[in-house]
Symmetry: none
Subunit: 253 residues, 2 copies
DNA sequence: GTTCATTTGATTACTTTTGATCAAAATTTG
DNA sequence: CAAATTTTGATCAAAAGTAATCAAATGAAC
């Protein structure tokens, strides 16, 4: 094995495992720890790996990510919702993903899919999926919302209109039978509307705290929603009301 | 077997296998290692293969061999160039920044500027500047080039045409008096052209190894360049030739 | 068939890479 | 916070690989 081949393999192994020790690598490569250290030194200089005491780690794009490490509220509910949503993605699909935290949690489950194409305005989604070989990514361009770690604005909306996807995965600030989908920021609602208009199916990921709650910008009717995925805290009556207003399918996890 | 036939076969075998040792090739070709080395030397000169200690590899159209190695190699030159380039940015400016490694190094120096607006297709630039309060960022959208950590493609080019900036800061693969600016990828050259067309001034950051070197896609004339910043390794004669062809200003750091 | 240029493989000196050793530095433990 | 342990990086000799040189082999031109 030549040096370049070995380095490539080290890179692949560490990316696969997340992190490995010098000795584990020495084993895998059939080389001495001294050699591995030398290799790691060079790979690290290129910034492709992060050296740790005793080994090396895959660099995480923490700077871009921002909220991916933060503690997400209602984490467990959202996790179940995201997992369910991911099952709706078929191999080969092109999908829109918005910048909500529940949608973000689909990423882990998407890594197992083959050959999917993700179009997103979310930097955390980007950061999480950028190193997955089976996933192609298109990034929505436009003004950067630093706090939300997402792209938004007029240009972004125009840009979304230049694409079509089989499915869009979105979150909202509020949803009710009376007012449909609502948001508390025009930036947010503009992007979500654009996704809705350019996808064949709309999947709304929405923990039950948002259901029956209204925010102040009404931006879409419930009939726009092909599938609403939510958690247990939803009453039978509410379900019926939502379905009556046009939510095609309702999944409770 | 003629020399040409053998070389062709070597190329085919290495491309098939990804990489092969000199001895493996000697075996396959029924030739001595000395002959294989000579062949590899010539093939490598054409850039069709990458020589490794002990063998040869299919060229890796990316980060591992390309950009990051160079970044480390001429780091100090590039740092000086980037620093000089940053002095050309005025408070309040809107600037384009491309995805070159030298351009990236401007980031550190930009943090001190007040109220600037950066439009970029480079994820490293994005990551570096995202948390700087005095800098607004617009991200160019489009297809994601994972290896280059940048956005490119037709949509990206269209997107750039939707903006105007006072200055663009760009890198190139090659520049010469005869052929102007050259690149080795259409993705790259397309983006750079778009920046050139939509900025009032073009500042080219270019270490001296690129000067006098030509890559194969000619995409802009020297008269498009308002300012070329380079390091010491440039001859007086070359300077004159570049200026004669239209480079408005030439700064050597 | 001789001459001349090219190509080849062997020999050589030289460079790079490797793993072992060991003191210094970093980390963990008491 | 100091001792014990682990990890590291520098150094060096051995091994592996390379580039240069040269003579033999090939083959084209006359």
């Amino acid at each position: 094995m030549t040096i370049q081949e070995r380095k490539k393999k080290i890179l692949a192994e560490v990316y696969e495992a997340g992190s490995l020790s010098v000795f584990e690598l020495a084993d895998k490569m059939a080389a001495s720890p001294a050699t591995i250290r030398r290799d790691l030194h060079e790979i690290t200089e290129q910034g492709l790996l992060v050296r740790t005491h005793g080994g090396a780690m895959k660099p995480d794009n923490a700077v871009i990510t921002g909220f991916s490490d933060k503690k997400v509220q209602r984490h467990e509910d959202k996790e179940r919702i995201a997992q369910e949503a991911a099952t709706l993605v078929d191999d080969g699909d092109t999908i829109f993903m918005d910048c909500g935290s529940t949608v973000f949690q689909m990423c882990t489950h998407l890594k197992k899919k083959a050959n999917i194409h993700v179009i997103t305005n979310s930097l955390p989604v980007l950061a999480e999926l950028i190193d997955v070989p089976s996933i192609r990514i298109n990034l929505i361009g436009g003004e950067l919302d630093k706090k939300r770690r997402a792209v938004h604005g007029q240009k972004a909306i125009e840009h979304i209109h230049g694409y079509h996807a089989a499915k869009c995965f979105i979150g909202v600030d509020g949803i009710s039978a009376e007012n449909g989908l609502t948001a508390h920021s025009e930036h947010e609602s503009g992007i979500t509307s654009a996704y809705l208009q350019n996808a064949s199916q709309a999947i709304l990921l929405c923990d039950s705290s948002k259901i029956g709650r209204d925010s102040y910008i009404k931006f879409a009717k419930l009939s726009a929603i092909s599938c609403l995925i939510t958690d247990g805290g939803i009453e039978e009556q509410t379900k019926k009301a939502l379905k009556a207003k046009g939510v095609a399918q309702l999944i409770v996890v």
